[in-house]
Amino acid sequence: MSDRNITWSHLLGGLLLAILLVVPSNALAQRGRGPQGPAQEIAPIDPTGYWVSVVTEGWRHRMVVASKGDYESTAMTPAAEEIADAWDPDADAAAGEECRYYGAGGVMRIPGRLHITWEDENTLRIDTDAGTQTRMLHFDPSVEAPDENAWQGFSRAEWTRAGGGREPGSEPAGRLKVVTDHMNMGYLRRNGVPYSNQTVMTEYLFSFDEPSVAGFPADSWLVLTAFYEDPLYLTRRYMQSTHYKKEPNGAKWNPTPCSAYE
């Protein structure tokens, strides 16, 4: 009778075997128990460098100022439409509000260049030449949000890690997740489509190197997906993705001030 019962030694032996056979280290990483240490040291992707906007989408809302009242592809509440209908760039300039389109909610869509660097080992820095803005992405959870709102708000960052997939030996990869709040009210679009100071923006950044394909040279790309949740000016979660191509250096870096007009 006792031969047919499960015993501690049988069970523990089987468990150990199962762990050795099927649990790769990156499965642990995906559960949030991945590499520990400074964010720069454990980064699964390298988003640093100079990146240029490649404007193949949203062109007539990004490369030029769309007409007043052109709200195509938005999800505006009536309150938002009221603000956008009253959009007056002269009034913004007179009020010192030229940077409304250059806040964190809008600046990543403006055609321009990003310069991404490590400010310190737990803070990733994004500079934009459009509007000469700086975003700080804080990986250190002990950094507290400021009392005051700002154009770029306050951003918490984390790596979202993944396992290596089915291919044995494939490299672990991951993405950068950024949650931003404490933003000033700003514009999603140059023509006054607003987001409020209660907006929470969640971004995911993924970069990848693509080899030469069909005779075209190899490139590196950065894809940014942004989700906006705004209880005042959006009727639902709003989402957009923006892509950038890596440049070899900062030769084309062209800082310009905020403008209420372009």
Partner: protein
């Protein structure tokens, strides 16, 4: 001497085992029903672009010349009615995809994904490492696709595609093109990144990204397409314009109050420097 395990002990050991062993492989589940999100370019993607609207497209002169001949009524020809969008346009168009995983019953490995789009056909994406066919093998609307995981992002490489269009206003894409896609899933949304490499009609790769939302109540229906006579035409007639005779080819500039040079596209129109060019062309804008 072995001791018989108690019930609480069994529960504890099983719990530890489940915690440690799942998931052993961290690929992302992309299967299910998905709907396109039109939070950018809704007019172009759903309604359709204006004729001659090429802003931001890295096209060459040959592409412009072909597109000028486009007459959209060609889509009413019997030969065109059941033709699905090509692999690199369908992710941009207004169709909903339905993705299923084909699983080996023994190994439980995913050997292929099947992507069926509304009013389209099955598109297999092979995950079993098989090579792409030789150069003389047939080309199809969805081409021959192989997938691999980059972490939990699915990279797809497609070859052997038929000539098609990259925008629904006749911008052509050749059968020499190859397409690379990255499916990046964040919670209930896939960011579908599509890069078209066409050595015939593009001067640079065309990259586009769009979102697809997981739809729990959607069911993409089958599409047994039937050809009908939509327009009475002489036998053999193909709607077209001859070079220089398309009265609508340049109308996008007027519709959007843009300089003609901008609407004609080209790689320079993709980059920030083109904003300065627009100022030079239309200082009053």
């Amino acid at each position: 001497m072995n001791r018989v395990i108690s019930f609480p002990g069994l529960v504890m050991v099983l719990a530890i085992g489940m915690f440690l062993s799942d998931p052993a492989f961290a690929q992302m589940d992309i299967s299910g029903q998905w709907g396109p999100v039109f939070d950018e370019d809704r007019d172009e993607r759903a309604g359709g672009p204006e004729l001659g609207e090429y802003m931001g497209m890295p096209i060459n002169d040959a592409s412009r010349a072909r597109a000028e001949l486009w007459d959209s009524s060609i889509q009413s020809l019997p030969e065109w009615q059941c033709r699905p969008h090509g692999v690199d346009y369908i992710t941009r168009g207004p169709s909903d995809p339905f993705i299923t995983a084909e699983i080996d019953p023994v190994t439980r490995n995913i050997v292929a994904y099947h992507m069926e789009w509304l009013r389209s056909v099955d598109r297999p994406v092979y995950m079993d490492g098989r090579p792409h066919p030789g150069p003389n093998e047939p080309h199809t609307w969805s081409g021959f696709s192989t997938g691999e995981w980059v972490g939990d992002v699915l990279r797809i490489h497609t070859t052997h595609i038929k000539e098609d269009y990259i925008r629904r206003n006749g911008l052509p894409r050749s059968d020499r093109a190859e397409v690379v896609e990255y499916l990046i899933r964040n919670d209930d949304v896939i960011t579908w990144t599509t890069i078209t490499y066409d050595p015939i009609y593009l001067e640079e790769p065309l990259i586009r990204t769009g979102e697809f939302l997981w739809e729990r109540n959607q069911q993409v229906p089958p599409y047994p397409c039937t050809v009908v006579t939509e327009v009475d035409r002489p036998v053999g007639f193909v709607p077209h314009y001859f070079p220089g005779e398309n009265p609508y080819a340049l109308e996008a500039a007027g519709v959007y109050s843009l300089p003609l040079e901008a609407t004609q596209g080209g790689p320079e129109t993709m980059y920030p420097e083109f904003k300065q060019r627009i100022r030079e062309l239309m200082p009053e804008r």
